[in-house]
């Protein structure tokens, strides 16, 4: 069935010209095009031996940071979740008990913290909203999975390991770093591993 009148007949038992009948010139022309690519820049890389460079501010797999003592920075304030346009973040908070001061930075902490990586659009608004410097997006890619529920990342996949810290200093511009040195912003005492103003509160 013909749907439109726009289709054009390109070759309908068109007679070949003398040049085309010779066959060889066409082959040579094609081989020359193919051969010329040997001397051009390669369009691909030999992945996985070689990887393309990634931008330092690439927005991928989130990390929940720990502070200089290894305590979790997140205090479950919920600002990331309310800022999230995709509503990918959920959390439950709990009160820190006596003796857990080395585990959690503040009086309140996130008992569960989940990001649905299928919902997440990697916009970085959670990072922007966070008042505690706890959540950052990193240049790690989210793994592929077989099941949908495996994409709901809990704290085990989000909180950084104490012995395997994740560097996020590239994500912070110079202006931000300067701003964080203000004495009023006490929760930002650590910048690039240096203690700017000692004397802990809370």
């Amino acid at each position: 069935m013909k749907l439109t009148n726009r289709s054009k007949v390109v070759s309908d038992n068109k007679e070949q010209t003398g040049m085309e009948k010779l066959y060889l010139p066409g082959i040579i022309k094609g081989m020359l095009i193919t051969g010329s690519h040997l001397f051009k820049r390669r369009a691909t890389v030999r992945y996985p031996e070689e990887t393309r460079p990634m931008a330092g501010v690439y927005r991928g797999w989130h990390v929940l940071k720990r502070d200089e003592n290894g305590a979790e920075r997140c205090t479950a304030c919920g600002l990331c979740a309310v800022a999230c346009p995709a509503e990918a973040i959920t959390m439950e908070s709990a009160e820190r008990k006596k003796g857990e001061e080395s585990l959690y930075r503040e009086e309140k902490y996130a008992k569960t913290y989940e990001i649905n990586m299928l919902r997440c659009i990697f916009c970085g608004l959670c990072e922007e909203a966070c008042p505690k410097e706890a959540i950052f997006l990193t240049d790690r890619l989210v793994d592929t999975e077989y099941e949908r529920e495996d994409f709901v990342y809990g704290k085990s996949k989000l909180v950084e390991k104490i012995d395997k810290r994740i560097d996020v200093s590239k994500r912070q511009t110079l202006e931000v770093a300067e701003f964080k040195k203000l004495p009023g912003l006490k929760h930002n005492e650590v910048w690039e591993g240096k203690n700017l103003n000692k004397g802990n509160k809370h």
Binding site: V82, E87, E95, E106, P131
Partner: protein, 327 residues
């Protein structure tokens, strides 16, 4: 008595304060108040956020008042002319007042349960500057349990005395008050005595900051993840009309209903507040009115149609046209 506030004239009976007259006109002229509470006698006069400028004392004596006055404690005179938001001097002075209120207030809003419905947060956002100039140690206290249901976080207190007056006037016996003087003042119970009264829970509702919080709600949810609905039940102790904060089907918190000025409409009893945490305990009347600029109304999408209309209006004003209608 005729009084003009920010250029708007209103006729009020004798004995009305400037603040009440301004509230009668509406929120566009009403000064913010942290300590004044309509339902509590002798409240007001502590926080100084409601200061206004009186440019004309009265018709009989048209001289201006020499200093800004606390509008919650100053009664109107016939022919009085008052400036609130229209006076840059007052805005500057109020900014100073906010800075003073925030001197000892900790920056722990991410931890505090009051965040999102805190009057000091609103006040700081509207009047304060983003930076603090204060570099000294803030005053700190240990947390105290007042009874098994109320937590007193004295560090956050701004000493508005509302809770003391509530305990004095709403409950029959006052067990807590303010001890010490000046900077060292502290809300305290007599040797941490348990407040044991049916209406003691109301001190939580009157507290403008997160100093007195509900222990049954402590760290359970952020207010903006909950859905407030007006509900009632038959209660033999109080009116039974409350605001129930739901998370899904679960009742996470029960508070009294609050009006436009964030003041409790009717005080509720402790049994309504703490002991009825099932949806089946309540007859739900409908969603509570929440200001659309409040963080509590975030992500609830009730006003999606309204939002659409607004966006269309803005686009029209800017000369945008939908793609499919472009010539």
């Amino acid at each position: 008595m005729k009084v003009t506030i920010d250029g708007i004239e209103i006729d009020v009976p004798k004995g009305t304060t400037i603040l009440q007259a301004a509230r009668l006109i509406g929120p566009q002229v009403a000064p913010p108040a942290m300590c004044y509470y309509t339902k509590l006698k002798t409240s007001g006069g502590y926080c100084r956020t409601c200061i206004v400028k009186v440019t004309q004392g009265s018709t009989a004596n048209p001289n201006p008042m020499p200093k800004p006055v606390a509008s919650c404690r100053t009664e109107v005179m016939d022919g009085m002319v008052v400036q609130n938001f229209s006076s840059p001097e007052i805005l500057e002075a109020r900014k100073g007042v906010v800075e003073f209120l925030l001197i000892n207030h900790p920056l722990d809003c991410p931890v505090c349960d009051q965040a999102g419905e805190c009057k000091l947060q609103d006040l700081g956002y509207e009047n304060g500057s983003a930076k603090t100039r204060y570099e000294f140690k803030r005053r700190e206290y240990e947390m105290i349990d007042i009874g098994d249901k109320i937590k007193l976080h004295m560090t956050r207190c701004i000493l508005c005395y509302r809770c003391v007056k509530t305990a004095e006037q709403i409950t029959d016996k006052r067990l807590h008050g303010v001890v010490h003087r000046g900077d060292a003042s502290e809300i305290s119970t007599y040797i941490e005595q348990v407040i044991d009264n049916d209406f003691s829970g109301n001190v939580i509702d009157v507290c403008p900051v997160g100093a007195l919080t509900d222990k049954t709600f402590r760290f359970k949810q952020r207010v903006w993840f909950t859905k407030p609905v007006d509900a009632h039940r038959n209660c033999d102790k109080c009116c039974g009309k409350t605001r129930v904060w739901l998370k899904g089907e679960e009742v996470v918190r029960v508070t009294a209903r609050k009006d436009q000025w964030d003041e409790v409409e009717e005080f509720i009893c402790n049994s309504c507040r703490y002991d009825h945490k099932k949806t089946s305990d309540w007859v739900i009347e409908g969603p509570s009115p929440i200001h659309r600029n409040s963080v509590i109304s975030q992500n609830h999408y009730q006003n999606l149609n309204e939002l659409k209309v607004q966006v269309m209006k803005q686009q029209k004003a800017l000369g945008f046209m939908p793609i499919d209608k472009k010539p």
